[in-house]
Symmetry: C2
Subunit: 427 residues, 2 copies
């Protein structure tokens, strides 16, 4: 492609009336952005348009004035509602014509699925192609993708279902698209942090942000925070992926040094995965005695494939009687301190260690809300204990947010306490 201007600025247009309702978001654009950024292409604007040919013609025309690559997703099905092919042909002023090879391909695909009646004529719509377009085969559905060179610019049409779009774009990104970019790939790393507020992390990282921005290549960072979970996204772009990765490696190391042991992963792994790997390394088993988290901690631990290597059993005890019957928590202890208290959390952790049995026992008791709070123990108060053969740790937290957020933050804190105990143990 010598002599053709490299693609550098993209627009992403999602097509579908359901994406303009209050119940559905276009999520394909995240995947598309990731693939484009990796190739050094920036996304300048994203748009969502309904199944409305005229509107799409208009939006596409406007986009083509501003960017050199337009990626469209959706609207390639066989029904009258699927307007993307027609709109693109009109916006680019090219005739639409049936592609004979595609018709044959669609008929064969239809026959292979075991239907005895012939392919409905409707499906021939999917074989209509704007003049000059290159067809991209769809290994996972009937809608082919289309690549259209339009002067120095490119219009790329992808099917809407993610399981069709993702493999198709991955192939195009490795092939035709990679030949049309200038080659300043973006490399990205995700660090995850537990046990700190966003503002605290932001404060310790602020001096680094400034320094990184002045380097060559410059390194950018963004913090994404939800209660209980902070992600630091660090990215850079360089002439080669090797240079970018080396620059990123340095920045990641500096961020870890600044934030400290609160960083639990530098490669996007979740806390339950990190804890699981530490348990496997040390050959230990964990059991959880859950009250306010209601099974969430065990569910997260067992979300990880292979977790049967370190989880035998957990017990959810919502009532006081169950804490006594199933975890051997002394009823007098509950009477004296209340069910939400550090002594009860400790007794629960020790109870599950013996009952599961497990090397490490976690006990969690708290008030998830919205009711049940008192002035001394408001909603969000959670006691977490972690017991092992060598001792027991306990902490009381106060979380904010609704019931779901309190449960999640409590699960996050409990898993992080286990992580720290495992890291500090000689292993």
């Amino acid at each position: 492609m010598v002599g053709v201007k490299p693609l550098s600025r993209a627009a992403i247009i999602a097509v579908g009336s359901e994406l303009l309702t209050p119940s559905k978001l276009d999520t394909n654009s995240l995947f598309i952005t990731d693939r484009l950024n990796e190739l050094g292409v920036d996304v300048a604007v994203k748009a969502v348009v309904g199944d409305d040919r005229d509107e799409l013609v208009h939006v596409l025309g406007v986009a083509l004035e501003r960017v050199d690559l337009v990626v469209l997703s959706g609207g390639l099905g066989p029904t009258d509602d699927d307007v993307t092919r027609e709109a693109v042909a009109k916006a680019l002023d090219r005739p639409l014509a049936e592609d004979e090879r595609l018709v044959a391909h669609l008929r064969a695909r239809f026959a292979a699925r075991g239907f005895t009646r012939p392919m409905p004529e409707n499906n021939r719509r999917q074989a209509m192609v704007p003049a000059g377009a290159r067809v991209i085969d769809n290994g996972n559905g009937s809608a082919p993708g289309l690549w259209i060179d339009h002067g120095d610019r490119v219009v790329l049409l992808l099917p809407g279902p993610p399981r069709e779009l993702k493999p198709m774009l991955t192939d195009v990104a490795k092939g035709w698209l990679s030949e049309r970019v200038a080659g300043a790939p973006l490399v990205r790393r995700v660090l995850r942090v537990a046990g700190r507020f966003e503002s605290e992390v932001d404060q310790v990282l602020a001096p680094l942000y400034k320094e990184w921005a002045g380097r060559t290549p410059s390194v950018a960072a963004t913090i994404l925070a939800t209660p209980g979970s902070i992600e630091i996204h660090v990215s850079t772009r360089a002439a080669s992926a090797e240079i970018a990765r080396a620059a990123l490696e340095t920045a990641v190391a500096e961020a870890v040094a600044a934030v400290g042991s609160n960083v639990y992963s530098t490669d996007g792994r979740l806390l339950e995965e990190v804890v699981g790997e530490l348990l496997v390394e040390r050959g230990l088993r964990v059991g959880v005695a859950e009250s306010c988290t209601g099974g969430l901690i065990t569910s997260r631990l067992t979300d990880v494939s292979g977790s049967s290597r370190y989880v035998d059993a957990s017990i959810v005890t919502y009532s006081n009687q169950a804490k006594t019957d199933l975890l051997d928590v002394d009823a007098a202890l509950i009477d004296e301190h209340g069910a939400v208290s550090e002594p009860v959390a400790i007794a629960m952790a020790q109870g599950i260690r013996h009952r599961a049995p497990a090397d490490i026992g976690i006990g969690v008791t708290g008030i998830a809300g919205p009711t049940g709070g008192t002035p001394e123990k408001p909603v969000g108060t959670v006691a977490v204990a972690v017991a092992s053969a060598t001792g027991c740790r306990v902490r009381t937290f106060r979380f904010f947010g609704d019931r779901g957020l309190v449960k999640f933050q409590a699960s996050q804190s409990a898993l992080d306490m286990v992580r720290r105990m495992l890291l500090e143990s000689s292993g």
Copy 2:
């Protein structure tokens, strides 16, 4: 507002460079769409633009040619990156001027937060207002909203943080906006379905869709399906909310008659809420013996506020030994049938009934994957048993998808079996 053309077609523009990265979506537009639809305003297009003044001026200019209401979110902060005010002033060709009352308000707000140093001059940016704009006070942050009448059209600027945007838009929708719409409000209901495939539901509803489309007022329906969960969104628009609600009531009743008892809620309630309400009505308690679901069923049950009225205890048994020790499952039964089998699921359900104790016991055992499958019992095979004082039901399912999807579908099927048992019991 006599004589002014009512607003009917909107564009939503989200502003912020972070919304053009692979890790963050604009979700404000869902809430904005919901409020606009309720007032009878359609959303024709949505766009996301970075913190780029020229790009925003361009996109806003294009939108104003096509719609009569533009709602912008974000870019109203105090920093140089916050370009929405300037871009709107430029696109509408109006001067920006400092609003004295706003400066005083911002200073007072700053002082009230206990800072001893005066407000940074940067924050005065937030008091800059395009000529003719009406200021909307922000009860939850420092960025005021702005309402600009521009001929027959309106441009509405809202702050980006959802906790600031939502109450502000709710107020505007009840006030200024409600006075500018023609009054054909959209009314919507969400039906939820368990135990059916999307294609099955689609097939039984297809004749209704056609009939509904021809009625006055016409009723529209959309199916949103993810594995284990199908939502039917039914909506209509009429001269009055009463007429719309009556039309919807008829359509919902017809849909329920067609789909049958697989519809578990017609008001958006989740399955765990429906099951919880049935348990409370019947004064029964439930306990769950979970293997492959790893605590997810109990976590979902306890996501519901007030679930302590019907949950005392659950036990997660991942290993065979734990099934025997904690749920009294006969080891010989496991040897004979395998851990993933209907006899073991029944024994687990009966075991938790006695151990929790509970009126209804759920036993779930299966292969969540990705490893552990065999030709006879492939990944996704799950046996679910529900035991009560009067008997026991058991079913074996075969779910598709990754580990998380198998867990979720298994939890959904187990809760639906409990729902059916409770509905059929004399209660």
